[in-house]
Amino acid sequence: MTDVVMPRLDPGMQSGKIVEWLKKEGDQVRKGEAILVVEGEKTTFEIEAPDSGVLSKILAQVGNDVQVAEPVAIIGESGGTSQSEASSRTVRQEGANQGSMPSPQSYVPPGPSTAKVPATAYRIVASPAARRLALEHHVDLATLSGTGPGGRISREDVIAAVEQAPKVAAAVSKMVQPPVLRRVKLEGIRKAVAERLSFSARTCVPVTITMEADATKLVAMKEKESHISFTAFAVKAAAKALEKHTAINSTIEGDEITTYTQVNVAVAIHTEEGLVAPIVSKANEKPLKEINLVIDELSQKAKEKRLTIEDLTGGTFTITNLGAHDIESFAPVINPPQCAILGLGRIVYKPFALGGRVSARPSTMLTLVFDHRIVDGVPAARFLQDLKRNLEDPESLL
């Protein structure tokens, strides 16, 4: 008898919602065969049978939200009756206390995607008394700054915050509430985006640097190779530069910086549900045309909500392009735990002074936001310089 459990398919995943059972109770299943569809925070995915046998009991129905590592079904031996306590088992719902982990043999770790779970945020230094008071008065300790020794949040700090609160509440009650179009609970992709970006904002030390790139050759090249997107050029240009400037090709988790040999460039794609950033893996090894194909494919999959967990994890750098929407330049938020993100603006003709004459040339603004905890300004600037040179010489990217 084997439990089918809700796998953790990305580091931030807490639970998954059952979308569809592809098998019903009593069906024969083969090991590796997809038996149900689950919606995680980023995408839907299929869960495979961890063992062959009979799907003897379905524990979580469609629509149920199941905690990671909790069982969703039981697979019994073929033909044999499952002497399981199946009938008495119930699925732990979201919000319940954390249950025990299933036994090792029944827990199926989800392939290569079991990335390390990042250490949760940072530790708030607060005294036990402050923590108790904060809990009692619903004060978020993260919003307070401590006045105790070493910045410790003390009892008084919480009391001060509580005493402030009624004034704020009174003011809020007088505030005019405009008519509501809709209220949407933060969940799914929106929630994942919100959590990742808040985490980034809380932990990163972002520094923004910008550089203007001459896009003359790029525009000329684009006329010949019209099917290749600017984003693809940028991915290739970045991958080449990352190969050289390895420090940028890093992630940070807790107090450890990991630098990679492989360059996996995440590309931000807008979907109706929200932002996703699937990966062009080994972008340094792939030729430009292949990168272009991969991006097309990822965009298509994103649109159809078919992105797999492999598509979404393992990025070492991110590129986001708002050029199509007339944005000149912008400083994006770093995609944690990565070191840096490149924001691309539109290509626009601008006057250039050259040899005493002014001429119009296409150019684009490159904005790099990097985590100063991982690299310093000069190496980041050197990286952006190389990236710019690569982009200004698109022949070299072919």
């Binding site: 036990p128 008394a129 108790r132 020794p149 410790r152 003390s154």
Partner: protein
């Protein structure tokens, strides 16, 4: 002694010499050699005799001249006195009092100055009483003598010179009840024996700087009035423990651990101990003064806890 003829005294030089520290002055004359007995210089014999007298139905009050000599009595105290009632299923009582004093601060040297109450906290069945002022000295001693269990009664050598009001009339001070010596809101100082006075003087200095310290005299370490301490800590959220023993493994450690268990969620800062350093007590006056905790060291600990 007037009230109960079963109360008898024994110890070194308590009779003819009126006591080394004059605690028993005049008692030989008043009650005679049957009830006030000078003994040979043998602490083991004094303690053993006290256990025997108590088992036989008397209420002995024995004096051990220095707390440093208690290890010589340890077998009688720990193995015999503290366990008799438990092991006999309540058939035997040991209503004895072992009085002693510690002379830290009187230049009596390493072997005649120690304050070691924590040793006796490991002896269930033995009460440990430590008066800090004249009023409690009378009230607690009466309670100790009337208690049906063995009591170790520790006096502060430096406290013998303390003056304070003592009611003439009969009263007892219950064992296991701490005394709030000064009310305060910002920090609790729990003090033992001589450090109660030092802590009160620290609290006065702190008051000048608008720091309101509550000072609690434990009075007895076994039983410990943890409720009173916890009640105070829940209000102040901060605790300093002041005692004259060596800090490591001392009474401060025990009180600190008990408070953490009982009131962790009320603490706003680490609990600090003010006690003696981890060395034998120096004889030199200057070094001994440096070695001893004081009102100043209590103020310093309070400042650390408050982050000032």
């Amino acid at each position: 002694m007037i009230r109960d003829p079963n109360v008898i005294l024994l110890g070194e030089e308590i009779g003819v010499f009126n006591g080394v520290y004059k605690v028993t002055r005049g008692l030989l004359d008043e009650f005679g050699p049957e009830r006030v007995r000078d003994t040979p210089i043998s602490e083991a014999a004094i303690a053993g005799a006290a256990v025997g007298l108590a088992l036989a139905g008397l209420k002995p009050v024995a004096e051990i001249m220095y707390m440093d000599f208690l290890p010589i009595c340890m077998d009688q105290l720990s193995t015999q006195a503290a366990k008799m009632r438990f092991m006999s299923g309540g058939q035997l009582n040991v209503p004895m009092v072992l009085r002693t004093q510690y002379s830290l601060g009187r230049q009596h040297g390493s072997q005649h100055s120690q304050f070691t109450p924590a040793w006796f906290l490991q002896v269930p069945g033995l009460k440990v009483v430590l008066p800090s002022d004249p009023n409690d000295a009378k009230g607690l001693l009466k309670s100790a003598i009337r208690d049906p269990n063995p009591v170790l009664f520790v006096e502060g050598g430096l406290l013998y010179r303390t003056k304070g009001p003592v009611p003439e009339e009969e009263y007892t001070t219950p064992l296991g009840k701490a005394a709030v010596k000064k009310k305060g809101d910002d920090i609790t100082i729990v003090a033992v024996s001589r450090m109660v006075g030092e802590s009160l003087s620290a609290a006065r200095k702190l008051q000048d700087r608008d720091i309101s310290a509550e000072v609690i005299d434990v009075r007895t370490l076994q039983p410990l009035d943890l409720d009173a301490i916890v009640e105070s800590v829940k209000r102040t959220s901060r605790l300093v423990i002041a005692s004259d023993d060596v800090k490591r493994g001392g009474v401060g450690a025990e009180i600190s651990a008990s408070v953490t268990e009982a009131a962790f969620d009320y603490l706003d800062a680490p609990i600090m101990r003010v006690a003696c350093p981890d060395t034998p007590i120096p004889f030199s006056r200057q070094l001994e003064q440096l070695y001893m905790p004081s009102a100043e060291s209590v103020v310093k600990a309070v400042d650390t806890v408050l982050g000032r």
